[in-house]
């Protein structure tokens, strides 16, 4: 099975939305928590295993004004950080095929 470029949020992770669209991502299995800004929240909500990183970036550019050209790189780094810390993974080919 190969990994796709479609990030998927760990379903056990809790998105705790605070005021002004800032949020905390909390993994109850590890007690790890990470704060994120409104763009991060928007990315998280799109990490459904169906959208690719490019799809997510494209949607983010439509949702937020003045999205910089470096958005893809920054969002990719954000997703990688989430993946490294068990908050997210990359969807597998077989699961896509089965779907």
């Amino acid at each position: 099975m190969n990994q796709t470029d479609r990030p998927i949020a760990n379903p056990i992770v809790v998105l705790r939305e605070e005021f002004d669209d800032w949020a905390v991502l909390f993994n109850p299995d590890t007690a790890d928590a990470v704060g994120t800004n409104p763009v991060g929240v928007a990315v998280w909500k799109r990490m459904d295993g169906k959208r690719s990183l490019d799809d997510i970036v494209s949607e983010i550019k439509k949702s937020f004004e003045d999205t910089p050209d470096s958005a893809l790189k920054e969002i990719a780094a954000f997703v990688n950080t989430l993946a490294e810390n068990g908050f997210a993974g990359l969807e597998l080919e077989r699961k896509i095929a089965d779907a």
Binding site: I12, V13, V14, L15, R16, E17, E18, F19, V24, F26, P28, D29, A31, A33
Partner: protein, 360 residues
Amino acid sequence: MRAPRSLTLEITARCNLRCRYCYFFSNPAVEYRDLPTDEWLQFFDELGSLGVMKVTLAGGEPFIREDLSVLLAGIVRNRMRFSFLSNGVLIDDEIAAFIAGTGRCEYIQVSVDGSCAEVHDACRGQGSFEGAIRGIRTLQRHRIGVGVRVTINRKNVHDLENIAHFLLDEMGLSDFGTNSAGYMGTCCINADDVMLNIEERKEAMATLLRLTVKYAGRISSEAGPLTDVRMWRRMEEARAEGKPAFHNGGRLTGCGCTGNKIAVRTDGAIVPCNMLAHVELGRINHDSLAEIWLNSTVLNQLRNRHTIPLAGFEFCAGCSYIPYCTGNCPGLAYTITGQIDHPSPDACLRRFLEEGGTIA
């Protein structure tokens, strides 16, 4: 924040012990009854939908509930972590294995008030020491985090050195916490027998300071003699040197609990804190927790308590410690003075010194 990060839930009004300084029992404001399983499970679903991260299960004795594993499964299902406040006696291998299996337990706090049965049982009842130590050993076997809390009182104040040796050297615990019997609940009835007098407070402070040197980093406190003496020494130093006011000094800033947590009484009443059990904000499964959290007038008044200057209280008139004082716990302020918006006399340095206390 839109919802509390954590809650303390008194899941039962029953207890296998009757400790002489229990804050929970003998409170006329509380209806001592247990909610059925379904009521808690429904509430856990609400907590899950709000993104609550952690619940602390208390009582009464939480391990007395026959449906405890069902409740824990509800907590886990709603993606929360949990901890316990317990006397340890009812913890057995079966429930410990279940708890360990969830992977969600932060710690279980067990009360140990003596280095031996004679001291511990003096306030907690015959057989309770043996049961508490057995419970701790059971938790350790299952690799569940144990936090021991020593409640300092008249019966154990002379045993603190032995307690530290027993817990840290003999039992091999990494650390333990301390507080003291406070004027709440059953303690109000037995105050003369269990609460420290001035001389005993002095002794407790001196002993604890000595022990924190001997066992560096292994004895902690959030209230009680160790917290008092550390805070009071800072205040006295600041006053003597004419330092500027502390950033949180001079106002009722002593409690920040209402900023990120809330509590539920055993009868389902939502209250700001277990120490303010008479302040009913609503009922679980009848009132929206999010609505209470955001819009309760009473809760918001408590949050604004930090704006009330100590200089306005007759109790504080002429006190040179005002710029460095926070007024401390509103729960104790209420039980001692009948007012929440009042500094707690129990934490008053000036009064302590006037009554013969020393902090040198």
